[in-house]
Amino acid sequence: MAELKRDWTLNQGAFGRLLEWLDEGEDSKGERYLEVRRRLRLYFDRKNCLSPDDLTDETLNRIARKLEEKGSITDVSALHYCYIVAKYVFLENLRRLKAEHIGAAEDVRQDTAQGQSVKTESDDEAREKMHGCLEKCLDELPNDDRELILEYYRGEGRETIERRSELAGRLGLSKNALILRASRIRTRLEGCVRSCCGEG
């Protein structure tokens, strides 16, 4: 797969085409794009890449460019194609880092070590900022979702398990359905907090 030309940028038209292609016939109003972006970021993060956001952007830019060149990509599903491109981006990044005599894992360990030596004041400031952002994002949640999260995360150990069973019963949900619903609300919260903290 050809490397992206450095001078190519994602314009409005190409972005719109990308959204449409990801939606696969259903207008998700950009939700599908955000979800794909989140999954790609998680993929690169699990691979311990230093800059998951940059690599995610690289992946989506390449897909958008391919769509612009070919007009459509129909031999595989949109999500599957996203994985294929992401895998190539990861491998290229790994080769580049090895070529520069820096392993991704080593980089992360160094980064972590440096992070530990950073003065705690910035950690405290970051923590304070996160707390403030969490409060803000929780306030922006619909009342039902906020109450569910409040109840879902109360208690410890056995009490938590019993409380969640009770909550599932009250909502008329299975245990797994409740877990998934709470998880989605929390994922939304994480995205909101990340944006609020300025992490993209």
Binding site: D45, C82, R154
Partner: protein
């Protein structure tokens, strides 16, 4: 990707994947599914949240705890998730404590079979609102009842007074209609009547009207 394929992936396997503790070929398959398979992606999200919460609550131990510390916490983004989880759990406990202190018993004593907690809190307000409305209605009904009684009593009193006055007037009318009245028009009638009676029993020497008058005066009438 069929969601039925997800049955081959246990929670234990997926947790090991999240901790970077699966073989390369298994990891690659799961990498693909984590992007391309909606159900698996959401399962991974939920398991990751549970894993992070367990760490924050000091519920991890042994190999899992070691893998969490060495692999999971090696990423700044994942460390941020742990911090967020810690904040979220603290917030949840603080909010719950605040409500308990404020006496919001619906949170503490919501029956298991009743509506969910979110509507349970709202149901508390509704309950109180309905109770207040019922009290107001009862008070208003009581007021109307009392007012009705008062008006009835008043009506009865007025009727009694009217009856009393009517009786009094009747009595007076009867009194005015008797012989004790000797002056005016009624007195003259009474005099003529009395005179007529006298004339029936007189000496016959006086005649005419004036003769009659003299006889009436003599009788002390007129």
């Amino acid at each position: 990707m069929s969601s039925a394929d997800n049955s081959e992936y246990s929670d234990e396997l997926l947790t090991r994947y999240l901790l970077g503790a699966v073989k390369a070929n298994e990891s690659e398959r799961l990498d693909e599914r984590s992007i391309a398979d909606n159900e698996l992606a959401w399962r991974l999200d939920a398991l990751e949240h549970d894993l992070v919460d367990a760490f924050v609550r000091n519920e991890l131990s042994g190999e899992t705890l070691e893998q969490f510390k060495t692999f999971y916490l090696s990423s700044p983004a994942r460390k941020a998730k742990v911090e967020l989880a810690r904040t979220l759990l603290n917030w949840s406990e603080e909010r719950a404590s605040t409500r308990e202190m404020a006496g919001d018993k619906q949170v503490e004593h919501a029956p298991a079979a009743s509506a969910n907690h979110a509507t349970g809190v709202r149901f508390g307000w509704l309950q109180w609102g309905l109770a207040a409305a019922a009290i107001v209605l009862c008070a208003f009904a009581f007021y109307l009842f009392e007012e009705n009684n008062r008006l009835r009593k008043l009506q009865n009193e007025v009727q009694e007074q009217q009856t009393h006055h009517a009786r009094k007037n009747d009595g007076r009318k009867r009194e005015r209609g008797g012989l004790g009245r000797t002056s005016g028009k009624n007195g003259r009638r009474a005099a003529d009547t009395a005179y007529a009676r006298l004339g029936a029993h007189g000496d016959g020497s006086d005649s005419g009207r004036y003769g009659n008058r003299r006889r009436a005066n003599a009788a002390g009438i007129g």
